[in-house]
């Protein structure tokens, strides 16, 4: 039974207020909003992987393949077929979910290393399709001209998503919905079944869990979220490029989830914010960001595999003398 005490709750509310008012306090610095949008995008994919890896125990090394799948489905629908953003988003999410379910079913026959390797292989395959199917995806050069969502109008008010603050609120709203979904899934019978599969699959089966079905569901859900993240990304940047969805990006997503704290609700948010904003905060050149993160990942595996959220939680338990289970 996980209980949220007063102080963390207060911090959460403060953070939320901060996020909701960002365009106000960051008024003269558009790059702050830009980075917050990127953090939102990264965190959505990270929530998907957190559900798979942190709660379901499925270490997928091909996550960005599904982000790319969703991204390109939406991009092609919006650019070539002139679909609107929302129908493209919905279709992309469903496509990624179906791909996740099918590919997951193939991957679940394997354990340990083999599972990781086969997910890596599928991630590579998906990337290869994006990179080489020139007719549809425009290949390595990328697919430009991906539009922002159409403006909302009523009466004389026009909200154009070409403007950063407006797109920021859109991204934030979707992100909050995604985190709410994560909460709903995790703190429920569904989440408890996933946790049992992660902790002891054989025991779960002996207690009546149809493991394959649940793994498929979480893989499909995680992949759908990756797809949503991809769509948001290509709409924001106005271009879809295969390089955003390659093996290294999949590894970066694993980094975000693990450093943030796998199996914790706030883990993806912490990891994503750190990943996007740390270089700015430390005024570092971009190359060193990943050097530090890579090193951080190694050090965390050695000394704090539960990630930052996990460390905070342990610290909190020490302070309050609470020895109960998470």
């Amino acid at each position: 039974m996980r209980r949220i005490a007063i102080v963390p709750r207060a911090l959460g509310v403060l953070a939320l207020i901060g996020l909701l008012t960002a365009p106000v306090w960051a008024a003269g610095h558009p790059y702050v909003l830009h980075m917050l949008v990127l953090s939102c995008i990264v965190s959505i994919a990270a929530v998907g992987l957190n559900l798979m890896l942190g709660y379901g125990g499925l270490v997928s090394l091909g996550h960005m393949g599904f982000a790319g799948l969703g991204a390109y489905v939406a991009a092609v629908l919006m650019v070539d077929a002139r679909w609107g953003f929302w129908s493209a988003l919905g279709t992309a999410a469903i496509a990624s979910a179906i791909a996740g379910a099918l590919i997951g079913l193939i991957c679940f026959r394997f354990r340990g290393h083999f599972f990781m390797i086969v997910t890596l292989a599928f991630g590579l395959l998906l990337h290869a399709v994006m990179n080489n199917w020139d007719d549809v995806t425009r290949g390595a050069a990328g697919l430009p001209g991906v539009p922002r969502p159409a403006a909302w109008r009523w009466g004389d008010t026009v909200i154009s998503f070409g403007q950063l603050p407006n797109f920021y609120y859109l991204a934030l709203a979707i992100t909050l919905a995604v985190f709410a979904l994560q909460y709903v899934v995790v703190r429920s019978d569904l989440g408890r079944v996933l946790g049992s599969i992660r902790q002891d699959e054989r025991l779960a089966r002996a207690r009546g869990v149809n493991v394959i079905v649940f793994k498929t569901v979480v893989f499909a859900l995680g992949s759908a979220l990756a797809g949503v993240s991809g769509v948001l990304q290509v709409s924001f940047l106005r271009v879809a490029a295969p390089a955003s969805f390659n093996m290294l990006e999949s590894i970066n997503t694993v980094l975000v989830v693990i450093v943030g704290g796998a199996g914790f609700l706030v883990g993806p948010a912490v990891g994503a914010l750190l990943y996007v904003t740390l270089p700015e905060a430390l005024r570092l050149a971009n190359e060193w960001r990943l050097v530090i993160f890579g090193g951080l990942l190694v050090i965390m595996m050695l000394f704090a595999p539960q990630g930052i959220a996990g460390l905070a939680y342990t610290l909190w338990q020490r302070i309050t003398g609470d020895r109960s289970a998470r």
Partner: protein, 291 residues
């Protein structure tokens, strides 16, 4: 047609040799430590960088550059084993994630130190041409094949007939039994890891002059190495050799019928197909349940 085929076969053997070097290193480490070192690709890259650095800043001697590259990779390998893999022994997920962290750390360190643009490494053997029939190959091309095959032979003899080689084989079959019999398992693990890294470094040093030396040059060989050991059978040394060569030749020959864009995808397809239809590969035993 026959000539084009021969040309591609020899190309394939050369690329296959590089895959074999990566695959052999990975299979040695896997056999003894039961972990796939995903950072192997970036170690391959480092081999290239150390080599070109030595060649351009110390002495323009290619053999020396290769030697220094191998030596430094051995040292690095020992450090990584001692500091990262050994402490995480028993926890597969964390070892794999740590190796992913190593990829990011090392690859981006290379970019930060040497820059993101590719380096050229001009070495005499790439200019020197050798004729096979009416085809011409650079001595370097053929040298890679010869060196790799020689190394495979030496390694094979070492593993089969030497005392330490037998210790390595015993440890990879059963660590517990090896401990009981008195084999110095830690020394075996450290050495196997170091040898694996040396092989990767050699691969990087050999391929550097052929194409270019750039930070991502190990990413593709990592995947090819993985495909090679899957094809050959995880844990099987002869499998890694056969798998790597087979993959290299298949890829090169495929360029005769398929657009070259798809050449790399062959490795991915191989991985998926092997895992689906014959997960133990060509020579491996039934996959031990890694539950």
């Amino acid at each position: 047609m026959g000539e084009a085929l021969l040309e591609q076969v020899i190309n394939g053997l050369m690329m296959g040799s590089l895959y074999v070097l990566v695959a052999l290193g990975m299979v040695l480490i896997y056999g003894v430590m039961h972990v796939v070192n995903f950072a192997h690709g970036v170690l391959f890259t480092l081999g290239g960088y150390v080599g070109v650095f030595c060649y351009q800043h110390l002495a323009p001697s290619y053999p020396l550059a290769l030697l220094l590259s191998i030596a430094s990779l051995a040292v690095l390998g020992l450090a990584i084993e001692r500091l990262v893999f050994h402490p995480l022994d028993g926890n597969l997920r964390n070892q794999v994630i740590a190796s992913l962290g190593l990829i990011l750390f090392l690859e981006n360190l290379i970019i930060a130190v040497w820059g993101a643009t590719a380096l050229q490494w001009k070495v005499a053997s790439t200019e020197h041409l050798v004729s096979i029939g009416s085809l011409q190959f650079s001595a370097h091309h053929l040298g890679i094949i010869v060196i790799t095959l020689a190394l495979v032979a030496v390694l094979g003899v070492f593993l089969k007939y030497s005392r330490f080689g037998t210790a390595i084989r015993a440890t990879s079959q059963s660590r517990e039994a090896a401990i009981v019999v008195g084999i110095p398992v830690r020394r075996v693990q450290r050495s196997s890891f170091a040898i694996g890294c040396m092989l990767a470094g050699l691969g990087g040093g050999l391929v550097g002059p052929l194409f270019l030396v750039f930070p991502q040059m190990g990413d593709v060989p990592l995947v090819k190495g993985l495909a090679g050991i899957l094809l050959g059978g995880m844990g099987s040394v002869p499998g890694a050799v056969v798998g790597g060569m087979l993959l290299g030749v298949t890829e090169s020959v495929s360029t005769l019928f398929l657009p070259t864009d798809y050449r790399d995808s062959i490795a991915f397809m191989v991985m998926v197909l092997i895992l689906l239809f014959r997960p133990q590969g060509l020579f491996g035993q039934r996959i031990r349940g890694e539950d």
